[in-house]
């Protein structure tokens, strides 16, 4: 059952991602990207990362993509603008280079380079405590310093966005 679900959701994810890069209208592109992110949330649920899936939908599909759509509609772009392309010959080499990159990544995945140590958080253990509770515990104990630095990063980003968007400093 979950195998079929994986293949269906993976197909939807890749299809919408490919539609995104060939879509002329940025609004439709943003909608395709929202679908990609929702499908990724389904994959996170299949990987038993329920909290990450919820955050993915709330933060990515909710907050970030609404910001993108807001900016697209604020700028009110001309769709024909895209037709003017100074480097039309860049398209085919770009696709070939992308295929080459994919081949290299696949070689690395198939090699024995990617080895990891098994940790204690088995599915049964995580389910006995709860995914969200475990993540919260780790965030506020072992990962407290990165968490605080992250809050400073968000603060700086908010100030930077306001300063950049201001008309006159």
């Amino acid at each position: 059952m979950s195998e079929y679900l994986f293949y269906i959701v993976a197909a939807i994810t890749v299809t919408t991602a490919v539609y995104l890069i060939f879509e002329k209208n940025p609004v439709f592109g943003a909608l395709y990207l929202i679908q990609t992110m929702v499908s990724l949330a389904v994959l996170y649920i299949l990987l038993e990362a329920q909290f990450v899936a919820a955050v993915q939908i709330i933060v990515y599909a909710g907050a970030i993509m609404v910001l993108f759509l807001f900016v697209i509609m604020l700028l009110n772009l001309d769709i024909k603008e895209e037709a003017r392309n100074a480097l039309p010959f860049q398209r085919i080499p770009a696709i070939l280079m992308g295929i080459a990159l994919f081949t290299v990544i696949c070689i690395v995945i198939r090699s024995k380079l990617l080895q990891g140590k098994q940790d204690q958080y088995t599915t049964a253990y995580v389910q006995s405590i709860g995914n969200t509770k475990l993540i919260g515990n780790l965030l506020f104990t072992d990962y407290l310093l990165p968490f605080e630095i992250t809050s400073i990063l968000l603060f700086v980003a908010a100030i930077g966005a306001i300063m950049l968007a201001k008309r006159k400093l």
Partner: protein
């Protein structure tokens, strides 16, 4: 049986699609969305590795990636709005004032 390889290959496909999108598109907002797609692909491999190694670190790292992505989206879109205000376009062929 779905192994970690399936998820890593899916992640590689999504990352490649994002790279190709950055290279072939000329609209700055679409390029930005392709960068978000690449960040999402990396998040997927983090979560897959965390699941198959019975680890929690991958899931925790995804939160930090998401925070960086959110900060990047806010600042980057502000830059795009500022550029549009000066140049009346977001086509990156016209935004070449910093090129040599």
């Amino acid at each position: 049986m779905i192994t970690i390889t399936h998820y890593l290959v899916l992640s590689a496909i999504l990352f490649t699609v994002g790279v190709i999108g950055v290279l072939i598109r000329r609209n700055a907002i679409i390029i930005f969305m392709c960068i978000e797609l690449m960040l999402n692909a990396v998040n997927l491999s983090f979560v897959a590795c965390a699941h198959y190694l019975n680890s929690m670190q991958g899931q925790l790292f995804v939160f930090f990636t998401m925070t960086v992505a959110a900060a990047e989206a806010a600042v980057g879109l502000a830059i795009i709005v500022a550029v549009f205000r000066n140049k009346e376009t977001v086509n990156i062929d016209d935004i070449n004032i910093m090129k040599w």
